[in-house]
């Protein structure tokens, strides 16, 4: 079931945000072919009245298990095109509001918890934006999602932090990371990004 927590974020007009605004101006000037630079949004855990949801795969209604893999995969019907190199950016336009997503490194948190923080920030107020983050524990075959958290706001320029916590006592030293999906619902459309935070090994 969903555990509702109220969390907070201290607002701060940072020097880095000024760089983000500058990047948007530069982006317009250069045909919006550049991304906003990295900048840090200060955060803390004070309560400011915004809601945040957390749940993990242990929730009985969160996921359904099946015992076999997919028999086939639906393939794209896009027009034939071959692109060599990095992601073909031509198919994806950048957020006009200069929105960017950020995931911090996973870390040990008080009470034998593993945790990670992530957020979405824009240069201007947008109708809605948010972030959902999975805390993952590494195995050799895959990163397992152990806890999920999200945060969203309407009529804001930045989200609260999504910061899932997972009790990691008894697991010894493990490698953890956060993976986040960021989104902004803007007048010109819906924009997203995925960020994968730095890995961090620690025991609880």
């Amino acid at each position: 079931m969903h555990k509702v927590e109220r969390r907070a974020e201290k607002k701060s007009i940072s020097y880095a945000r000024a760089w983000a605004v500058l990047a948007v101006v530069a982006g317009v000037a250069l045909g919006a072919t550049v991304s906003a630079p990295a900048y840090a949004a200060p955060v803390d855990d004070q309560d400011d009245g915004f809601s945040e949801l957390e749940h993990g795969p242990s929730d009985p209604d969160a996921f359904t298990k099946i015992t076999s893999g997919p028999s086939e995969s639906q393939l794209s019907n896009q027009a034939p095109a071959v692109h060599k190199g990095a992601i073909p950016m031509a198919i994806a336009g950048f957020s006009p509001a200069g929105c960017a997503g950020q995931t911090d490194y996973a870390h040990w948190s008080s009470g034998s918890n593993a945790s990670v923080h992530a957020r979405t920030s824009c240069s201007i107020v947008v109708p809605a934006l948010g972030v959902s983050t999975n805390l993952q524990k590494q195995g050799w075959a895959y990163w397992e999602n152990v806890k999920w958290g999200e945060s969203s706001r309407a009529a804001a320029s930045h989200s609260q932090d999504a910061h899932p916590h997972w009790y990691c006592g008894g697991w010894g030293s493990q490698n953890y990371r956060g993976v986040s999906s960021h989104w902004s619902d803007e007048a010109s459309g819906y924009y997203t990004a995925t960020t994968v935070g730095a890995e961090n090994r620690f025991g609880c």
Binding site: P70, Q74, K84, A198
Partner: protein, 193 residues
Amino acid sequence: MLARFRLGAAAASITVIAILAACGSPPRVEPSPEVTDALRTLVEPPSEPPLVSIQGEELPPLYYDWVIDGEPVIFKQSENQDDIRLTQVPHPSKTLEVVIGSGVPPADLVIATFEHVDANGVPTDSGGMQTDCLREVDRCDLIYGPDSLTVTLEAAESAQVVVLQLLYAARNPDGDGMIHMNASWGVRLDVDR
């Protein structure tokens, strides 16, 4: 009008350059553990985990956490990762070829190679040698087609196990916002060459 816009854009560009010049060199960005990326228009992900082949061998997934027909689904070949059984494929050269049966660009594409395994064939070198193919483009050769993505990279001759990890962003089927879907596939390399 267009000319005026272009003139304005050029002026803005010059202004930015002038500001940068006036301030001296941009502030040095210290190495940071945070990872940041700009938001872009959403590209709908594959409706199921894509078909994947490594060295020409079509593989079942080892794991996926996906939304299929609007329902979140978790699949694990084995509850304990150490019990996973891998398909063995020939590995006549150092070059690995991975073909993903979807033309949708993933949000993350990592290929991990493991050089050390225990008596049961389970990798012992933790996460192995990981290559982030979307960012380390000098190490991976990516070819996007209309319905496939082909990745080639050089693996160490002593590599024994290869794991592909894919991640896509998707709309949350339970409400607003986004989620992500991830899956992995793996093979054991036949290193008798």
